[in-house]
Amino acid sequence: MTNNWYMLTLIGEDKPGIVAAVTQALFERGLNLGETSMLRLGGNFTIMMMVGGVQQEDELRAQLKPVIEAQGMRLHVDAIQGRLHEHVLPNIQVTVTGADRAGIVAQVTAALTDVGFNILDLESDVAGTAHKPVYIMQIAGVADAPIEKIEAALEALRKDGVDVNVNAVDTYIG
């Protein structure tokens, strides 16, 4: 029975087997997984996952200590509401590509906030080479504002080799 939900954040140097070891330990303690994100970021493996179980927080930490240490990871725990089945569909996607320019994420997201755009998901990455890095960011979110208004808000950021594209996301349901 799932009484308590926690958001676990785990970070460590990437190596094979982390996910298998961690999820096996959770399973053995009767913990359930909710929504998760597991991702390699710059040589680190990062895990954020909703975990539900009967355990109190101290008990959960104690139970996970062996596997966390064996995998050389760090653990952070937050008690949360386990609100599943509440996915929100994005209706706008914004893509930013180009030269790596200081402050671009802050500028783009400030402009989006001003037009009432709510970010659901943001992924940014550095592609290209060490010599010539290319910055790529994709933002999916929800806005009531028409696409033209969002484009206009971002227009000023299209300079110095940075490109910004705004597209409607029409999710096909069938």
Partner: protein, 172 residues
């Protein structure tokens, strides 16, 4: 007319391959009327395939004329024994499914297709389709072949850095 029950994951029947329609009779057309009523009842459903209601014949319905932002489309279409004969290009787009509630993901589909099919009376149909409507047909034909979009979902990260060529996914 009746609203039919929709099979949802993990019902193994969703993996069943549907058979070609051979009898274009009143029974077929009565079923199509029920399938359309079921589609209209579904939350925001643009398309539906017969096997989603447990009828394992190659029949799909799509209607891409009601998107928020208009897209090239051929309106309301009943496609019997649909078959894609030509694929071109590929692009990611977001999909969800009546058979997989509360989940959406990005799927790579062919951008342009040529489609042949029959109408409910057995008359031949032929279309060139693009974009959203081409996506609709590919999603629904997958159902006829026992495939769900969840098996084709890619992350946006994967899509950007490992562009992969669209692989012909059945239907012919």
């Amino acid at each position: 007319m009746a609203i039919l029950d929709i099979l949802t994951l993990p019902d193994p029947a969703l993996k069943q391959v549907s058979e070609a329609v051979t009898e274009f009779d009143d029974a077929l057309r009565a079923f199509i009327a029920d399938l359309e009523e079921t589609r209209r009842n579904g939350p925001a459903a643009v398309g539906i395939a017969a096997p989603q209601v447990g009828y394992f014949k190659r029949v799909v319905i799509i209607d891409c004329s009601t998107t928020r932002k208009p897209v090239p489309n051929h309106g309301y279409l009943v496609l019997v024994n649909p078959e894609i004969t030509h694929w071109e290009g590929y692009e990611p787009g977001r999909e969800g499914c009546l058979s997989v509630p509360d989940y959406t993901g990005n799927v790579i589909r062919a951008t342009r297709i040529h489609l042949v099919a029959r109408d409910p009376n057995g008359e031949p149909l032929e279309f060139d389709m693009e974009g959203y409507e081409a996506r609709a047909v590919q999603h629904e034909i997958d159902h006829l072949d026992g495939l769900l979009f969840v098996d084709r979902v890619v992350s946006r990260r994967t899509d950007l850095f490992k562009r992969k060529v669209y692989q012909k996914g059945g239907g012919s």
